[in-house]
């Protein structure tokens, strides 16, 4: 099957033998983007989280056939050293990672959250950021998520008055 997709702004046309191949392996093995991680392989831990058309998905359980014609964003496409994404900036400020393996998934999930809800409450974070970190960096992550949201609001020049109540 021929798959045409855009990954981090670049167009790719790929010949895929098995259309049910997880998007994760296409991104990692065919496109050599190793930031997205394999964790559980059952869409349970979130290490493989990336964005498809702006929505967070668990790429280990996302057949590549569903990505045909869509825009995929991986951790490599979120930002860069010169212009980090608010989530990346916040993660740096709070020195969130320990071993770091699960962090790209958390960061992609957080980027999706603050793009839809620029002022998440602790409850919103509990509901939406349900990935698993075996180093238990959750405490630092929560602070970084609030900081990322703050940076995102600044980026969008939003004031508290014109932020909709983002309660889930």
């Amino acid at each position: 099957m021929k798959i045409a997709l855009q990954v981090n702004g670049e167009h790719h046309s790929l010949e895929i033998a098995d259309e049910n191949t997880p998007l994760l392996w296409v991104v990692r093995d065919l496109l050599n983007l190793k930031g997205t991680k394999f964790g559980c392989g059952k869409a349970a831990c979130g290490a493989c989280t990336l964005h498809v058309d702006g929505e967070a998905v668990r790429s280990c359980s996302y057949a590549v056939k569903f990505a045909d014609g869509k825009k995929v964003t991986t951790i490599e496409g979120l930002g860069n050293e010169e212009a980090p994404h608010p989530v990346q900036q916040a993660w740096l400020e709070h020195v969130v990672p320990q071993c770091g393996y699960c962090q790209p998934g958390f960061m992609m999930a957080t980027a999706a959250l603050i793009s839809k809800n620029p002022k998440p409450t602790d409850e919103d974070i509990d509901k939406n950021i349900i990935n698993i970190c075996r180093c238990a960096t959750y405490y630092r992550m929560r602070k970084a998520i609030h900081r990322a949201a703050e940076l995102e609001r600044q980026r969008l020049s939003l004031t508290p008055k014109n932020i909709e109540n983002g309660e889930e």
């Binding site: 049910n20 869409a43 359980s61 569903f66 939406n128």
Partner: protein
Amino acid sequence: MNRIVVLLVIFSLGAFYLIGSNKEPPLEAYTVIPEVKIDSLTAERAYEEVMNVLMHPRCMNCHPTDDIPKQGMDRHPHYFGMSRGKENKGFSATKCATCHQEANNLNSGVPGAPHWSLAPASMGWQGLSRSEIAQRLLDPETNGGKSHKELVTHMTEDELVLWAWNPGVDANGIPRKKPPISEEEFKKAVEKWFDEGAPVPSK
């Protein structure tokens, strides 16, 4: 004595002839019975069969009354704290479609079908009796304004409803159990029940 022997010989010959002949009677001898399909599916039986399916975990798990989807034959709460959310599809960033796609994933065991979501809260069935579920199903106030005809269409054609007969495998690769009757039997039961006006027994 001689007479008895003669009679036995005649009787034996007659018996051998009858056993050995094995001739089919001529076709004209049969009475042709017209093929009449006997429809044994009564409205009551159709109702029971429909309800047996609706109350099976494959259906009930996504018709909660506490906004929490259920999983498995033991109907445990969905892992990861997932809940209904504003549009029956989870939360703003982590929603049903974060994991559930338009088809079952046989690698991960994550089930999927088009428009994967919880049934609306008004269609919560968990904990209700058979007749209460039936009433909630039939009532346009709770079923999203659907007529009987629309309900038949929904129950016999909707891909998410029919997923119950194509439920894929679980996280351990074990096929999920299907409802107690086949998809075709269910469709027949639905049509029969609604053809008869969808009566709900009072018991």
